[in-house]
């Protein structure tokens, strides 16, 4: 048997997952060290691994750096207005329950301006997946503070430190009754991909908060100037605890205070669609 040699890295022009990304638009606009590319990889792996036909996957996103993800994934993708992807996804899913609708958007988009749509969609338990990317800031518009910016963190609109406390998103979403609530970082690639795979199967509002590195944005205001600073932050402070007390999983980013990750909630809750069927029965449309 002839022995082959590896002479170094092989230079190629295509990656195996290029069938699920709009490769003609790569390299994408996100900064070096941004976690969005990584979670895009986790998402397309989850899509490929799901037993749902690829053509039935739909992604809806809003405005912001994360929102651009719709333009990079080779699925039916809708890039709508700021704060509204969840309402758009609800309209779509209600009329086409056979579609697997996933909203991937940022913290500013989904729970700041879009907060109202967020809480009602969880309450209704419409069968959509919502992957909220939390970089603690409004990245695309120049790093203004948002509803997940930690108390005291700097931003372009909080030069003296943010005077507001941020949302504790897993607590909020679980309290609203969501059937699936998880939090991972863009460093925890395999757990994140697995959580996404589970979310695609969950019936009802499946929520994942994805903490993402943002060295050029949030990081430049808060001493996390390079990707490796985020790797250090995540490696040193992240604790995985699936049964954590959600009252205590708020993120402060203060030295020594943990970032708690895990698949916190996974339960069965009647979905909007099941409840809507009751209307059809009572109205005489279904027997």
């Amino acid at each position: 048997m002839s022995q082959k040699q590896i002479l170094g890295e092989r230079i190629v022009e295509e990656s195996p997952r290029d069938d699920l990304i709009r490769r003609e638009r790569f390299p994408h606009i996100w900064c070096p060290g941004c976690g969005l590319g990584t979670l895009l990889k986790c998402y397309v792996e989850a899509v490929a691994a799901s037993n749902i036909p690829i053509d039935k996957h739909v992604i809806v996103s809003g405005i912001g750096c994360t929102g651009r993800i719709a333009g990079y994934v080779r699925l039916d993708s809708y890039h709508v207005t700021h704060g509204r992807p969840i309402a758009f996804a609800e309209g779509m899913k209600i009329v086409r329950p056979d579609l697997e609708v996933t909203v991937i958007s940022g913290d500013g988009d989904l729970v700041t301006i879009g907060g109202n749509h967020f809480i009602h969609a969880v309450r209704r338990n419409v069968d959509i997946n919502v992957f909220l990317v939390n970089n603690f800031i409004y990245g695309m518009t120049g790093n203004q503070m948002g509803s997940t910016t930690p108390l005291g963190a700097k931003s372009s609109t909080s030069p003296y430190g943010c005077p507001e406390s941020p949302f504790n998103l897993p607590l909020l979403t679980a309290a609203l009754g969501a059937p699936f609530v998880a939090r991972w970082t863009t460093l925890h690639v395999r757990q994140l991909a697995d959580a996404m795979k589970r979310a695609l199967q969950v019936k009802g509002f499946a929520f994942i908060e994805i903490i993402s590195s943002c060295p050029v944005g949030f990081g430049s205001y808060n001493d996390l100037r390079e990707g490796k600073d985020y790797i250090k932050l995540f490696l040193e402070n992240c604790i995985v605890d699936h049964s954590a007390d959600l009252n205590k999983v708020g993120i402060t980013l203060r030295p020594g205070e943990p970032i708690i990750l895990g698949n916190f909630v996974d339960r069965e809750v009647p979905t909007y669609h099941e409840l809507e069927l009751e209307l059809f029965r009572k109205a005489g449309w279904l027997k």
């Binding site: 048997m1 022995q3 082959k4 040699q5 590896i6 002479l7 170094g8 890295e9 092989r10 230079i11 190629v12 022009e13 295509e14 990656s15 195996p16 997952r17 290029d18 990304i21 490769r23 790569f26 390299p27 994408h28 996100w30 900064c31 070096p32 060290g33 941004c34 976690g35 969005l36 590319g37 990584t38 895009l40 990889k41 986790c42 460093l187 690639v189 395999r190 991909a193 390079e226 990707g227 490796k228 790797i231």
Partner: protein, 94 residues
């Protein structure tokens, strides 16, 4: 390896350490360094050549070509879809 074996596993000769060949798409790389920092075997290093945007894509560090164990951490973590690993049979390579 500092693992002290209490007894010799009877199928030890059948255990194979995976081997991977790293593939890179230079034009996509943005020199973020994640792959280099997170490789558990330190197989990757900053390359010498620059792509059209001026970023240096990763190369296999000197002498490390056979150290890649195809864990694919680089492939998963790369935000640019610029690097992936193909697993091959270690027995076929020197």
């Amino acid at each position: 390896m500092s693992l002290k074996l209490v007894r010799e596993p009877i199928n030890k000769h059948l255990q194979k350490v995976p081997l991977g060949i790293v593939h890179v798409i230079p034009e996509r790389c943005k020199e973020c360094g994640f792959c280099i920092d997170l490789c558990p075997k330190d197989v990757l290093a900053v390359g010498e050549e620059r792509n059209i945007k001026g970023y240096r894509w990763p190369k296999i560090a000197d002498g490390k070509a056979m150290e890649c164990i195809a864990c694919k951490m680089c492939e998963w973590i790369c935000p640019e879809f610029a690097i992936f690993v193909v697993e091959v049979d270690r027995g076929e390579y020197v």
